[in-house]
Chain length 212, copies 2
DNA sequence: TGTACATCAGTGAACGCGCGTTCACTGATGTAC
DNA sequence: TGTACATCAGTGAACGCGCGTTCACTGATGTAC
């Protein structure tokens, strides 16, 4: 890169060489996605939104799917941050686990279109997108870590920890997708209500875990 | 209708008037969906598969979304049957609830594309498709009924029952979508493995409920 | 039983659209000498 | 410091595709008389 020789040089957008088009494209895609939804997320649309020709993205992404994968990866980064942030507000291990899940649900209802892209079947084959797979795994690990802290000093088997993590993740992800797909009514998508529902439902699982 | 005057008359497909094209279109759509996936489910493709002109479906469905909604509705019908079938294999109320959930997960991994259409965001606005909404609700009620049988004679509040039903449904739906979207690895989609995983994860929730 | 006619359920050509992608190109940049 | 040149990062026109949908139509069917 090393594009700008002087710190005060003209903004990149005025130049023929953009300087950081790859990042700019992902940003434009995120905004477009929020505004137009998944079906509006097209290569041409993203290029248009970034103020660049339809062909410019091909210098940074092999094809449309590669761009979408980059968008999804940003989403998993943000989800991990959100969950980590949720975990940090809690004291006890059990509360940490619950707050991790609640944060994920809130993230989903606040970014429904992004959340859908993150779990899009088009990206299901993770061997095609190793970087995306790693980032998604890192997000899941926030849950897994919270679970293992809960099970703490008890000499539980590793496979049991994994199952508990999957169960926790499944409930949270299931609630998130039911909410954003309108299966629990339109009102439920309000972040406040969604949060309450997330607390109520995860209580059943997480208190159950404590009593185990 | 009353198409065939004689029981032994020629098959409908040879006639100008099909006789039962609406049903035939939904069947063709289900097969096409299974074969080509969600992106292959097009109006023209369905008409082609049913051996009829592109315009014929418009005599039975207002537009493409209406046909997709009919497909989704069939899916919810089958899901309800599958869950009911699962419930019937069990004796205790708790086992009934668990088997209901396990059956849903198995249904999803066996019909991933259909499952995706059923929960497609394009159909999220349920006020547009009241019949679909009712059928989806009927499927959910299998879970809700199983939950209320579990809570049985205990004088639990109705709102608690609703929360438990949502939590159960969320975990099962979450596990199903994680599986079919490849978030738990490709192998996990094998029905046998998926079933085991469904049993293991729901154990955590449903045993928790019993001990409540 | 025949017949006129309204209605139903199909056809087939065509339209406009936006898509992902190809192709050949050109302007800008960095570097070796 | 200048300059030649390879390379990088953009342009813009065009292609072919399949889509959902419109339009005007026609064949088949059911019914009233």
């Amino acid at each position: 890169m090393s594009r700008a020789k002087k710190p005060g040089s003209a903004p990149a957008r005025d130049r023929y060489h953009h300087g950081d088009l790859k990042r700019a494209l992902v940003q434009a895609a995120l905004e477009l996605l929020r505004r137009e939804g998944v079906s509006g997320l097209t290569l041409r649309g993203v290029a248009r939104a970034a103020g660049v020709s339809s062909m410019a993205p091909y210098h940074h992404f092999a094809d449309k799917t590669a761009l979408v994968a980059a968008v999804a990866e940003t989403g998993f980064d943000r989800l991990r941050d959100a969950m980590q942030g949720g975990a940090n507000t809690a004291r006890s291990p059990a509360a940490k686990l619950q707050q991790t899940g609640v944060a994920a649900v809130v993230f989903a209802v606040e970014n429904p279109e992004l959340y859908r892209v993150m779990f899009s079947p088009d990206l299901a084959d993770k061997t095609e997108h190793p970087s995306l797979a790693a980032t998604a795994q890192a997000a899941f690990m926030v849950v897994a870590d919270a679970v293992s802290q809960c099970e703490g000093r008890g000499a539980t088997e590793p496979s049991q920890t994994r199952t508990t993590a999957v169960a926790s993740w499944a409930m949270v992800h299931g609630l998130a997708t039911l909410l954003i797909d309108g299966q629990l009514g339109e009102d439920a998508c309000d972040p406040r209500q969604a949060k309450q529902l997330a607390v109520a439902t995860t209580d059943l699982l997480f208190e159950g875990l404590q009593n185990q």
